[in-house]
């Protein structure tokens, strides 16, 4: 048994494997098929201050080695979360992280302030990179000033670990990462989905209700890995790597690229129990290579 503990911005995880927002519900949906206490952390569904209906159906299209989605942050609002969902998930023995979204810096901050009051939520992940909503979301994540303005507002309202999820749909992700670090982010997670589209050639129309969607799955892994390398070299805060991770080997690549932890997203749809298999696989790899701790391989790739 290797030491799998890792730390992201003051928050210790029992292992570096986190399930990504929007792919694992609130965790409880998966408890029949996964031992939740064996997962390092669970980032729950995107949550906004006001309830949102999300976009119209169809919201997904399958692609080669991946999928597009345009869910659009459907959720019942943070008050509903605090009153009805939090009591059911607070005793799950994993790090339960809320993914927070909004339409203005103040809106993000209002939502974060509610989550701040929930004792068993040790961290939030700020979603400044959702490609599927018009008001806010990715709009903030594509400029350094937009990203900084959201983090600045939230930092005032939120005291615990603040992770900022970055968009890959930018010219220079490093400058965005540096901007959020300067505003007091404790960690950055990257990448969110890449904007794409798909066309039904028989119907001669785009497959998604809003035309475009976010691409996820193994097809985006090389892009994600490159960005994690770049950002990990440029910032001092811990980086969480995600984008197409399906196996322990994928996760180890991200860790060697500089990630202190990883998130598993779309792969949960293929195998709902994949996160625990990745934990076991990392452990086996470390043991078989005589590495005592997963922390010893963070950023070792030359």
């Amino acid at each position: 048994m290797a030491d799998l503990r890792t730390n992201i911005g003051g928050l210790e995880l029992r292992n570096p494997v986190i399930t990504a927002s929007g792919t694992f519900g609130y965790g409880i949906e998966f408890e029949d098929v996964v031992e939740l206490h064996r997962i390092g952390g669970i980032v729950m569904k995107g949550t906004t201050y006001e309830p949102r209906q999300g976009n119209d159906y169809p919201r997904m299209a399958e692609t080669a080695c991946g999928m597009l989605n345009c869910v659009g942050l459907q959720n019942r609002g943070v008050m509903y979360f605090a009153e009805n969902i939090y009591p059911r998930i607070r005793k799950i023995d994993s790090r339960m992280i809320v993914n927070v979204s909004g339409s203005s810096p103040e809106d993000y901050a209002r939502c974060a302030a509610v989550v701040d009051s929930l004792d068993d939520i040790p961290a939030i992940e700020l979603n400044i990179s959702c490609p599927n909503v018009r008001d806010g979301g990715m709009a903030f994540g594509v400029t350094t000033e937009g990203a900084a303005s959201v983090v600045r507002a939230v930092r005032k309202a939120y005291r615990k670990t603040l992770i900022v999820k970055l968009s890959p749909n930018v010219t220079d992700i490093v400058s965005i990462a540096r901007a959020v670090e300067a505003e007091g982010a404790d960690s950055v997670s990257l990448i969110n989905t890449l904007m794409g589209t798909a066309i039904d050639i028989e119907k001669r129309r785009r497959m998604l209700s809003i035309g475009t969607g976010g691409l996820s799955g193994p097809c985006i892994k090389p892009v994600a890995l490159r960005m994690v390398c770049q950002v990990a070299h440029a910032v001092d805060i811990p980086v969480i790597g995600l984008g197409g991770i399906c196996s322990a080997a994928d996760a180890i690549e991200f860790i060697m690229a500089g990630a202190s932890a990883v998130e598993i997203g779309t792969a949960n749809f293929l195998d709902p129990a994949v996160s625990v298999k990745v934990v076991d696989g990392i452990d086996e790899w470390l043991d078989s290579h005589d590495v005592a701790s997963v922390r010893d391989i963070i950023g070792v790739a030359e």
Partner: protein, 259 residues
């Protein structure tokens, strides 16, 4: 009723073509009894060996033979994913996440009369439903529609469970026309209409049932990714707002839908 979800490596006992476009897969779990499943629930089948197929495929549970530890999936070949499933042979492994979703409302009393209306491959969950209704002492009737006689699936199985009424669009079997045209609607009333088939057909049947003031449930087939209520891709507009077909459905009371 909530039943526990499982991930199982099933073993294919047989894969049998019905015509050129449909395949009936009969599977077992060689290591454990299959989990309890309810009519109207579905499985997410992993598609191995297809380069273009990424996601699992949601397939309704066609039939469960508890005494033989066997579950059936009736699959229409539409694209690469279903074609890969159709290639499975006896002895092959099939990874399934099951059972998923919320099934049909079962009869409260033995005397409840059910009309199960199926179109095309949509007949699949109705075999399991009819079988369980009969097991509870009821006598289900079936109204099956297809474009042509050859596309009527599992007809003999349905006949062993109850009255079978048939319509074909070309008149090659039963009454000519759509299921909503069948004379049974003029002759009998039912306590429940349970429907599965193409969306225009389900909407037409739902309208008819509502006009005749009979309760009606439909099984929806929205495209889905996870099947477990996590991705929120398969939503349907309802009186409660957008809800996931995979967890709140696939079976809905038509009064809940914005049809």
């Amino acid at each position: 009723m909530a039943v526990r979800k499982h991930i199982r490596d099933l073993t294919v006992r047989s894969g049998e073509y019905i015509g050129e476009r449909f395949v009936l897969l009969k599977c077992t779990d060689e290591n454990a009894p299959l989990p309890p499943m309810l009519p109207g629930q579905f499985a997410q089948l992993r598609v191995d060996g297809s380069k273009t197929t990424f996601l699992r495929r949601p397939v309704s549970i066609n039939y469960v033979d508890t005494s033989d530890n066997e579950v059936w999936f009736l699959i229409q070949i539409v694209g690469d994913g279903s074609r890969a499933l159709a290639r499975l042979k006896s002895g092959d492994s099939l990874n399934a996440l099951l059972p998923l979703g919320h099934g049909f409302t079962m009869p409260r009393g033995q005397s409840d009369s059910y009309l199960l209306v199926g179109g095309g491959v949509g007949v699949a969950p109705l075999l399991f439903l009819g079988d369980r209704i009969r097991e509870m002492g009821g006598s289900p009737s079936f109204l099956l529609g297809a474009r042509t006689s050859e596309m009527l699936l599992e007809k003999d199985m349905f006949r062993s469970l109850g009255n079978v009424y048939i319509t074909t669009e070309d008149g090659t079997e039963g009454e000519r026309g759509f299921v909503t045209h069948h004379s049974v609607w003029r002759e009998r009333r039912f306590d429940m209409i349970s429907v599965c088939g193409p969306s225009p057909m389900m909407k037409a049947v739902a309208r008819k049932a509502c006009d005749m003031d009979m309760p009606c449930e439909v099984s929806l087939e929205n495209m889905m990714a996870c099947g477990m209520g996590a991705c929120l891709c398969c939503v349907e507009k309802t009186v409660r707002g957008n809800v996931c077909v995979c967890t709140e459905g696939p079976v809905f009371d038509v009064k809940e839908l914005n049809w």
